[in-house]
Structure formats: structure tokens, C-alpha cells
């Protein structure tokens, strides 16, 4: 797909996600997932050596987090960091995006964070989501 078209699509998708956020967290989640997937397409179309390519990579990871899909954000970040031509500045930025997401949760839930890490909570949420209540759907 043409990068011009992808840029148009991602702009529209970001606008939509931001509008939906005003209505509540849940409706916006799938909209941010759309943003992440379009950014991912852009990242595939644009080399990491170009500024637009680096912006798309950061955008894909950031939008995946806004979609609440930390696993996907982590997988994308890992893949982009592993790119041979990825500059250190991009690698650092991607790591910081993931760390900030953890820090934001830890600072919001300070009492729980004394005993449990956001990573552990995510892991349990994922199991919970897959297996259902009491693991009955597993």
C-alpha cells in the first residue's frame, strides 16, 4: 500500500481513537489497535534509516500500549530493536516507551506495586483472559 495512503489512514485512525477515548476507555481500545496496525504497515514500508520510518515504529509500539496490548507492544519493540540498521536513539526510545508504561501503572497503583510488578499483573490478566473465570474456559 502507498505510504501516502497509509499516512492518511493513520491520521484518521488517530483522530478516531482520540475521539473515542473521550467516550470511555473500552471503545477506544480497538481504535488504538487499528492505529498500531497501520503504523506497523508504515514501518514495513519505510526503512528505519528514514525519520518517518522511525516515527512509525515508535507509533506502532505506543499505539499497541494504548490498545492495552502490552504483549504486542513488547513483540514489536523487540523486532524493531533487533533491526540491524536501527539507531541507538530508536532502541532507547522504544525501551523507554515500555518502561514508562510500567512506571505509570506502578505509580498509579503504589500499594500493589510494593508486592507485585505490572509485568506479573499483565501475565495474570492474560491467563485470566484466555482461561476465563476460575480457568473454566481453558
Amino acid at each position: 500500500m502507498e505510504t501516502d495512503l497509509l499516512n492518511t489512514l493513520v491520521t484518521e485512525a488517530i483522530w478516531r481513537a482520540e475521539e473515542l477515548e473521550a467516550l470511555g476507555k473500552r471503545p477506544a481500545l480497538s481504535a488504538w489497535e487499528d492505529v498500531s496496525r497501520i503504523e506497523e504497515q508504515l514501518a514495513k514500508a519505510l526503512p528505519v534509516s528514514e525519520a518517518q520510518g522511525r516515527i512509525a515504529r515508535r507509533g506502532a509500539v505506543d499505539a499497541a500500549l494504548k490498545a492495552g496490548d502490552y504483549d504486542r507492544a513488547q513483540a514489536l519493540a523487540d523486532a524493531y530493536i533487533a533491526e540491524e540498521a536501527a539507531p541507538d536513539s530508536l532502541k532507547t526510545a522504544l525501551r523507554e516507551i515500555l518502561e514508562e508504561a510500567d512506571q505509570e501503572i506502578a505509580s498509579r497503583f503504589q500499594h500493589a506495586a510494593k508486592h507485585h510488578t505490572p509485568r506479573e499483573a499483565r501475565e495474570f490478566a492474560r491467563r485470566f483472559s484466555e482461561a476465563g473465570a476460575f480457568g473454566m474456559a481453558a
Binding site: G24, K25, R26, P27, L65, G68, D69, Y70, D71, I105, R108, F109, Q110, H111, A112, A113, K114, H115, H116, P118, R119, E120, A121, R122, E123, F124, A125, R126, R127, F128, S129, G132, A133, F134, G135, M136
Partner: protein, 276 residues
């Protein structure tokens, strides 16, 4: 702080009533107790543990649902627990204390609207982990700020996300209640299996499960024997509470049931090696 969740696969087993009496028992032992109503869809613990409000004082609008909603709404800091818990009067000469965090100001329209909004914003299975952290944070904050000896949770009936979270993640001990029919027992047994196999967070001990046949009547003997046998195979001891027509009608409880309650509470809360 020890967290005990009171769970039943089916309703109408006297779960909230047992929790309320357990709270009073602990207060009598000089313990600090927080009772938390996580039965969001049909909350009623505030009827069993009524607060004292001076005449003319405004109605209480706090509770777990408004608290979690405020947290989910992205407040800079979580609202004070004092706005969402109430002191429950205890009997004279009791050395302990009791606070209740009701689900919210149910049954009123604003409560159901808040519950709907909470469902849109915060779910335990939210893959970001926020829903999980919010529930763990509420429990940890109760421990840090109110410092009770016991947190007693009224868990949602049936197979639900919130009931599962309250029992498999928050609880150290789960009291599983059922009445004398196979519909209730088979469901309870499935949940007990799940509880025993539930993954635990780092630093958590395995869940202790206490199965209770509640409101037992003479014709329940067959299922009581069957339940006792099946549970024994799983290393569990069945505790039986007799039917009490006064308790069922939410009147004063008769002596035989009170005696059984106390036997149960001694087993639940006074940890001798055979009770572990």
C-alpha cells in the same frame, strides 16, 4: 492481614450472613476486621452489617464500585479510603473494630450507572494488567492504611471474573458454601478443583479451601455423605451448618446454628496445625 473470601456457586446459602457473624466473632477476639462487598451485581452486605448514621446525616455514597471507578477514571491519586468505608458499630466490651466497604449505594439507580461505567473502564482481564493492579491495589491499600487483622470478602456467586479474582487471587482462604442439592454441589466441586489448581502470585501460599454444606436438613443426609466422601478424597473436610428457619427469615439466629458458627470460626481463624 489474612484474606478470607466467602463464595458460593449458587445463591441463597447464607453467605453474607456467615461473613457478618465471622466479622463479629473476630471483633470479639479483639481483631480489626474489614468486610468488603465484591458482589457487585447483587450487593447486600450493608444490610447484614449496618452502620450507625445519626438522623439527618446525608446518605453514604461510597463503596468499592465508586472507589474503583474513581481510580479507573484516572484521578491523580486514589480517593481516600475513609470516603468509601464505614465504621460498623460493634457490641459493648468488644476490643476489636469493624469497617465495611460496601459495593456502593445499592439499590439505587446511581449505583447501577456507576457499575455500568466501571465495566466499561476497568475489567480484571484487561490485558494491560490495570484491572488486576486496581484490585490488588485496593487490597494492599486496605492492608497498609487500615491495618486490619482480617479482610473478609463477600465474593460474587457463580462463575464470574470478579468472583474468580476475589477467590483465586485475593484470598488466602476460600469458604465455599453450598446447599443440599447436586446442582449446587457439582458446581461447587468444579470451582473447588479450579481453586486448588489456580496459579498464585509470587509470595502467595496455596489457597486454603473450606467447603461448607449450609442449611442442612434431614433429607440432605445423602448428599452430605456423598459430599463428605468426595471432598475427603481431595483432602478436604466438609463442615455442615444446620438449617435454621429464623436465620433463613433473616431474624435472630437460634442457638444450634450459633454453636455451629462458633465451631466453624474456631476452625477458620484459630490456627492449630490440624486446621491448616
Amino acid at each position: 492481614m489474612e484474606t478470607v473470601a466467602f463464595y458460593s456457586y449458587k445463591g441463597g446459602v447464607g453467605r453474607s450472613q456467615l461473613l457478618a457473624h465471622a466479622a463479629e466473632f473476630l471483633v470479639g477476639l479483639g481483631k480489626g476486621v474489614v468486610a468488603l462487598d465484591l458482589d457487585f451485581e447483587a450487593p447486600g452486605l450493608h444490610y447484614k452489617l449496618p452502620e450507625f448514621r445519626p438522623p439527618g446525616s446525608p446518605p453514604f455514597t461510597g463503596g468499592a464500585v465508586p472507589y474503583l471507578l474513581a481510580t479507573a477514571d484516572g484521578a491523580e491519586s486514589a480517593p481516600p479510603l475513609g470516603d468509601h468505608t464505614i465504621s460498623v458499630p460493634v457490641f459493648a466490651n468488644a476490643n476489636g473494630w469493624l469497617r465495611l466497604m460496601p459495593a456502593g449505594p445499592a439499590p439505587h439507580r446511581a449505583y447501577w450507572a456507576a457499575l455500568k461505567a466501571l465495566g466499561d473502564k476497568l475489567r480484571p482481564a484487561d490485558p494491560s494488567g490495570r484491572g488486576f493492579m486496581a484490585m490488588l491495589d485496593l487490597q494492599a491499600r486496605i492492608q497498609d492504611e487500615l491495618k486490619p487483622d482480617y479482610l473478609l470478602i463477600d465474593a460474587r456467586t457463580g462463575v464470574t471474573e470478579i468472583g474468580s479474582l476475589a477467590t483465586t487471587i485475593l484470598a488466602d482462604t476460600v469458604v465455599c458454601m453450598f446447599v443440599g442439592n447436586f446442582e449446587a454441589f457439582d458446581g461447587t466441586l468444579a470451582v473447588i478443583e479450579a481453586l486448588k489448581n489456580a496459579p498464585r502470585l509470587t509470595s502467595q501460599k496455596p489457597i486454603r479451601v473450606v467447603p461448607i454444606l449450609s442449611r442442612e436438613q434431614k433429607f440432605d443426609k445423602y448428599i452430605a455423605d456423598r459430599a463428605r466422601s468426595v471432598l475427603r478424597e481431595k483432602g478436604l473436610t466438609l463442615f455442615v451448618l444446620p438449617h435454621d428457619q429464623f436465620a433463613t427469615a433473616e431474624k435472630a439466629i437460634s442457638e444450634p446454628l450459633l454453636i455451629k458458627y462458633h465451631e466453624l470460626f474456631q476452625r477458620l481463624f484459630e490456627r492449630s496445625p490440624e486446621n491448616l
